[in-house]
Amino acid sequence: MKSEEISRRLAELEQKVTLMFKSIDCTKVVGDVLMECPETILSKVTSSGLSGRGGAGFPTGIKWKGAAEAEGGMKYVICNADEGEPGTFKDRQILHVQPDKVISGMIICAHAIGAREGYIYLRGEYNFLLKKLISRCEYWNDYLKKKGFDFTLFVRSGSGAYVCGEETALIESMEGKRGEPRNKPPLPVTSGYKGCPTVINNVETLAYTVMIMSEGPEYFRSIGTKDSMGGKVFSISGDSPRKGVYELPLGMTLHEFVDIFGDGDTKAVQVGGSSGTCVPRKHFADTIIGFEGVPTGGSMIIFNSSRSMYHVLRNYLEFFQEESCGQCTPCRVGCQQLLKGLEAIKTGKRPHSYLDKLRSLAITMSVSSKCSLGQSLVNPFNSITGHFREEVCY
């Protein structure tokens, strides 16, 4: 495809959704929302169809309603800015250019559920944003004080642990402990930070709630597809001449995506970061990017035919082996064994048939690990070893 044609198609796609980076008067939106009753806000968020943008896709309205109805004097809102998934960097961009939208989303949530404190948990790697975020929080704290609305914002810095992006591990970390995920239930909406009802939302999710309030839930629903409503901010990296952050509608096929973002020689796309699924070229046309197809937190890593998929998978496994919190055996030992086993096959120390044992270990991990770190490793492992078996073995 010619580059003018690609630019035209990209522009067309980008015009379909322009919510996240549109400048709006957050003070006005928040001022208006604070006049509304919590039930109205909850019903707007629910009817917008917004689901969690961190990757898990839990309906935001239901989460908020759960916390609003939960018993407890103190309630909390936490913005999960512990964006650690390899290939994901859209939250950094959103926090950098639209910090007020994210904070406004937290205030709207606080009003809806009756929270009095809010925390932004910012990953340590993004400490360069810390000063800016603290100063924006101070601005909003002053604003809320003048309005007589009892809600205070704080920023907490992470310390370099991927697993703390898991919501219960994040809470443990905020409580001054090792970031080890908790058993669920209870869910954070009933028993979260310090045992109190807590809503934890991704940066992007919170920012979108502001746009739902300002543009209306009907407008949000009208973007995307029936199963994946609204816009999505994508992080695009790898072998692409158009790497970067883009807001696009959900529901396009991977084929359409690769036509625009690929380099003309794309052999596979990792959808949803290292813990997501690797889709090979032959499935591009029938794979939908969205909750009805391959769900994604927005990370798309593109590989062209020069890349060794063995090398890619080994890189992922090293990552997971280091980042596994070590608390549960399936994940701790499983990550190590997958990496060791993969290397053993490659070097001829194990027969090719050993790969089937490793694939079955990945499935065991998916049902027996405590949190989504160990549970989701089956996605990259079995998709890459399934579609690129010859590259992994020879």
Binding site: G176, Q270, C325
Partner: protein
């Protein structure tokens, strides 16, 4: 009591949820948490030494081994790896005369390889303490480290 601990708890408090902010403050001041420092933290917070060690050792940004004044964290995850991280690592090792994971003799630089820094579209990327450097080439990386070294005026690389 160590003066920095006194300052840290004055700013952050000494409830359990203040433990990590206090550790972060101390790492920023002293580069790392020594066993003696962890013992003092344990006493101040009224928790066991093992509990403090357990928390500190969990987080990769809380150093429990002696570290240089500047910690270079070079991203080794997939997108940075694909865009040429290995050449950057080789150059840094050469000019600092250390392996990854080691600290220079004058305690100025520690070189580490780290997991995804969130700059996948602008790899290779590295952090020097909290400062971010992206789209590195070996020459650019060397230049950056030289500037840090020059600022200290005590360290001459190569």
């Amino acid at each position: 009591m160590n003066n920095n601990i006194f300052e840290a708890i004055k700013i952050h408090g000494k409830n359990r949820e203040d433990l990590i902010p206090v550790m972060q403050y101390l790492v920023a001041k002293e580069n790392w948490l020594s066993p003696e420092l962890m013992k003092e933290i344990a006493d101040v917070f009224g928790i066991s030494h093992a509990e403090v060690y357990g928390v500190a050792s969990f987080y990769s940004f809380i150093n429990i081994e002696p570290c240089g004044k500047y910690i270079i964290r070079l991203c080794k995850t997939i997108s940075c790896d694909m865009s040429g991280k290995i050449a950057i690592l080789e150059r840094l090792k050469k000019i600092l005369k250390i392996e990854a994971g080691e600290t220079t003799h004058d305690n100025l630089f520690t070189l580490q390889q780290t997991n995804c820094l969130g700059w996948c579209h602008k790899g290779p990327a590295m952090l020097v303490n909290d400062d971010v450097y992206t789209e590195l080439t070996p020459d650019k990386a060397e230049q950056i480290i030289r500037e840090y070294a020059d600022r200290e005026k005590q360290y001459c690389i190569i």
